[in-house]
């Protein structure tokens, strides 16, 4: 069933048609008998040349009535005049994800930039604020069309994120702008359902679906005198894809080459070996597709940092359990001087210094065991990768332990973490292996491995030498220096300062980064590794939503119906005069 926004205007249009039809039939040739055609011979036409086409001549009243009807229709349509003084701010959410660069010179970013500049030009004196939506939305700048800060926004909009939090960006815009704000989203994919139901949001997508294949994961591990490289390659195309994998040392010296064939949608893991001692490994996937960012992987050498552990455990079984787990971790240093971790079950053992973390184990005398449920702080570094379901944890009955609980059984803490101002951590374990099954599950060696890795990450060097695009690379310098020079993969140089003995670098470009300072030079690698960004099949172009909701229109535009009605009345008065003049 058809619905009309302006039914009155529709009927007005019908009446215009009716008027035309009426006058057409009225102006048809009427038969009129005359005494003689003698006096009409002045308009006699020659028979040669066929019929003459007469111009349809309408009387003045017709045009006046037509004009009056058109003016009434205009009044019914209710055109509105833009109120310059009532301008709502415009928030532009810019998709900063890497997929915006797919397609080369015709990328969604290029098209979105043109639209953005056009929108800014049209915005007049309206305030425009930009939010660059990457892993998290951030306000980029405020300007109006008369200002030149658009260039600064475009400079910041590099599309260097592995994801775009557009919905969060929209929320930030709505929060920042209040009720009277227009939100415009420039991206390469369709909006999530329901978001454009808000009449203040206009969602514009400039993407195109492309077949693509890319590296969606990768790592390298030392294996004696060689290193193994693990790669995950995924195809996002409808057909079979053939490609080559070429590994070099970052200086065009080829180290390995492999051919690979992927079925449609297949995700394949591949492994190859390279000689050890390659600090920077560059892997190039030659696919020939339109998206190059995910065709390269950069893997920096992960320096293993052994941890010096001193074990002072008197309980034989407990000592056996810990020693076994420490040995299995592969991260324990043979050196015992100046230990980084002290593990003890002796109650009187005090702290050595602020450098050494203490792990105190108690509960050997307790006869109580807990079958769960356990409450775990899974955000704690110690608990990464653990699952305590079905575990029986034997331990004490102490209701209070110093520090923040990490694992508890009801109100009984089993592991706590005590943090000191120097950065030292003391961990308190309540654990009796005689009553526990924890040591028989993978959870125990995992907890020990987490402990060693956590302590190692606090050692000088990068906490992680390979980070994903948009993540922070954290460097703990050997010697604290005030200022460090950071060079991005594209050669962009900047300076950074340490904060609390750490230097955090936002990795917004894929490739090898270099940080140099007084204490030395450090390198880390940044990769996309994002299947969501590599999948370009869902990219679309289109527009969803608009700013033209009735409430907005009422606020921004003034009705001009009165003007059209007045005009139509004037025309009708003129029509009346013409009729009166004719009647004499």
């Amino acid at each position: 069933m058809l619905n009309f926004t302006y039914p009155l205007a529709f009927w007005g249009l019908i009446s215009i048609l009716a008027l035309i039809v009426f006058y057409f039939f009225r102006n048809r040739f009427q038969r009129k008998p005359v005494s003689s055609l003698l006096l009409w011979k002045f308009i006699a036409r020659p028979r040669e040349g066929g019929p003459r086409l007469n111009r349809l001549v309408m009387p003045l009243t017709f045009f006046l009535e037509l004009l009056a009807l058109i003016l009434i229709v205009m009044a019914a349509v209710d055109p509105r005049w833009h109120l310059i003084g009532n301008q709502r701010p415009l928030f532009v959410i810019l998709d900063n994800s890497t997929s915006m660069l797919a397609g080369g010179s015709h990328s969604p970013r290029e098209r979105a930039e043109k639209y953005f500049l056009q929108a800014v030009r049209k915005s007049g004196n309206r305030t425009v604020r930009c939010i660059i939506a990457g892993e998290e939305p951030r306000l980029s700048g405020t300007f109006s069309a008369s200002q030149n800060s658009v260039a600064e926004v475009l400079r910041q909009w590099q599309c260097g994120s592995r994801m775009a939090c557009l919905e969060e960006g929209v929320s930030l815009g709505l929060e920042s702008g209040g009720k009277d704000v227009d939100i415009m989203v420039l991206t390469d994919h369709a909006p999530p359902s329901g978001i454009t139901e808000n009449s203040r949001i206009k969602w514009l997508a400039f993407g195109k679906p492309f077949p693509n294949a890319g590296i969606t994961g990768g790592t390298r591990r030392s294996l004696r005198d060689k290193e193994k490289v693990f790669l995950q390659i995924t195809s996002f195309s409808q057909g079979q894809t053939r490609m080559k994998i070429i590994a070099d040392d970052g200086k065009n010296s080829e180290l390995a080459r492999q051919n690979i064939v992927l079925k449609p949608g297949e995700c394949k893991q591949t492994v190859f070996e390279i000689p050890s001692g390659i600090p920077m490994l560059h892997i190039w996937l030659k696919t020939g597709d339109n998206f190059e960012t995910d065709d390269h992987a950069y893997l920096a050498s992960e320096d293993t940092k052994p941890v010096r552990v001193l074990s002072k455990i008197s309980n034989a079984k407990l000592k056996q359990v810990f020693e076994k787990a420490l040995d299995a971790s592969g991260m324990r240093s043979n050196l015992k001087d100046n230990p980084q971790i002290l593990i003890t079950d002796q109650a009187g053992q005090g702290a050595i210094d602020d450098f050494t973390w203490n792990v105190r184990i108690s509960g050997q005398g307790s006869a109580r065991a807990y079958a769960g449920p356990f409450v775990c702080d899974m955000n704690h570094p110690l608990m990464t990768g653990t699952n305590l379901t079905s575990v029986i944890w034997g331990g004490g009955e102490q209701a209070a332990l110093p520090g923040i609980p990490v694992v508890t059984a009801g109100n009984v803490p089993l592991i706590t973490d005590q943090i000191f101002p120097s950065g030292r951590h003391d961990l308190n374990f309540v654990f009796n292996p005689s009553l526990s099954t924890l040591q028989n599950t993978p959870n125990f060696p995992v907890i020990v491995w987490n402990l060693l890795r956590w302590r190692a990450s606090e050692s000088p060097g990068f906490t992680e030498a390979n980070v994903r695009l948009g993540d922070q690379a954290v460097l703990i310098p050997e010697h604290e220096a005030d200022v460090y020079r950071v060079v991005s993969p594209k050669g962009r140089e900047s300076t950074a300062r340490t904060d609390g003995g750490r230097l955090a670098i936002q990795a917004d470009e894929t490739g090898f980064w270099r940080i140099s300072g007084r204490s030395g030079t450090y390198d880390f690698a940044c990769n996309l590794f994002s299947p969501g960004e590599s999948d370009l099949t869902g990219n679309v172009s289109g527009q969803w939503g608009s700013f033209a909701d009735p409430e907005t229109v009422k606020k921004k535009y003034a009705s001009t119906s009165w003007f059209w009605i007045l005009l139509s009345l004037a025309v009708l008065v003129g029509h009346l005069k013409v009729l009166a003049h004719r009647k004499g």
């Binding site: 009427q30 008998p33 005359v34 009409w40 002045f42 006699a44 001549v57």
Partner: protein, 288 residues
């Protein structure tokens, strides 16, 4: 003849009872008339003497003068005239364009006949079609006329070029819309031969005199059924009025040439009160 035609004639006859035919014409001629003529006649009133010419009536020779002077002299007596009116009614189909026009032309014929009777004149009604034929009972009162059918589709002007022998020195009145193709002078010269006076009355319907209709019109000639598509607007109306005026000017000049009177009457105005001012002004009719 249609019933309404007789009604229109009667109406005209009634209207004519208030009028009399104007007889101030030098050439009126009649026998045993009621009015003295300007020529010598056979009345008892002596007029003059003159010398005898061969062929003169021997009975008018004054033998006393012959005896005294030995010259043949004849006595002339004053002529007594009795006027005669010939009413020529256009029998073409255009005269029945509308009721008013039919009513006016038939009524006017009756009016003239009645006015002639009031002036002690005889009259004869004629119907002009392919020929000029007498109307049955056309010499008596109009309500008794018969056989009038206004259905001729041709050109009455052709018939008027060769009229029948009208009574000499009679008054001839042509009642027509004159909307036919002819040379007015030729027609009038034929019509006014041996006539004491000729009167041409052009009777037009209102729509003949001014086509007020506007828009696209398919004109149909009621006589020939010929069709002409016309866009009537101010421009075409002006041209039509110009053509009508030109036609009337032609007839007016022709009337001046032959010494005839010319009157233009609008049917709708005639039938309002039958006071025909134009004919009264030109003394064709006199109010009794």
């Amino acid at each position: 003849m249609r019933k309404e035609y007789r009604q229109y004639l009667t109406e005209g006859e009634t209207a004519g009872s208030g009028h009399r035919l104007g007889l101030n014409h030098e050439n009126l001629l009649g026998r045993l008339g009621m009015k003295s003529g300007h020529q010598s006649g056979i009345s008892l009133d002596f007029k003059d003497y003159r010398e005898y010419n061969p062929g003169d009536d021997l009975r008018h020779i004054d033998w006393h003068i012959y005896g005294r002077t030995d010259r043949l002299t004849v006595k002339l007596y004053r002529e007594e005239v009795y006027g005669h009116l010939e009413i020529l009614l256009d029998g073409s189909n255009s005269m029945v364009l509308n009721t008013a026009k039919t009513r006016a032309c038939l009524g006017l014929s009756g009016l003239f006949a009645s006015a002639a009777s009031n002036a002690k004149c005889t009259h004869q009604a004629w119907l002009v079609k392919n020929d000029v034929d007498k109307i049955a009972n056309g010499m008596v009162r109009p309500s008794l006329w018969d056989g009038i059918e206004l259905d001729y589709g041709g050109n009455p002007g052709q018939a008027l070029l060769h009229p029948p022998p009208f009574r000499r020195q009679g008054i001839r009145v042509l009642i027509s819309d004159l909307l036919w193709q002819c040379e007015p002078v030729s027609v009038l010269m034929s019509l006014s031969r041996n006539a004491a006076a000729t009167v041409v009355v052009q009777i037009l319907a209102q729509e003949d005199s001014d086509p007020l209709t506007s828009g696209n019109v398919k004109l149909r000639d009621v006589e020939t059924n010929e069709i002409l598509e016309v866009l009537l607007n101010d421009d075409t109306r002006t041209q039509y009025l110009k053509a009508l005026s030109s036609l009337q000017q032609d007839w007016y000049r022709a009337c001046q040439t032959v010494g005839a009177s010319f009157a233009i009457l609008i049917a709708e105005e005639v039938i309002k009160n039958w006071q025909i001012q134009d004919l009264q002004t030109s003394q064709v009719l006199e109010v009794v």
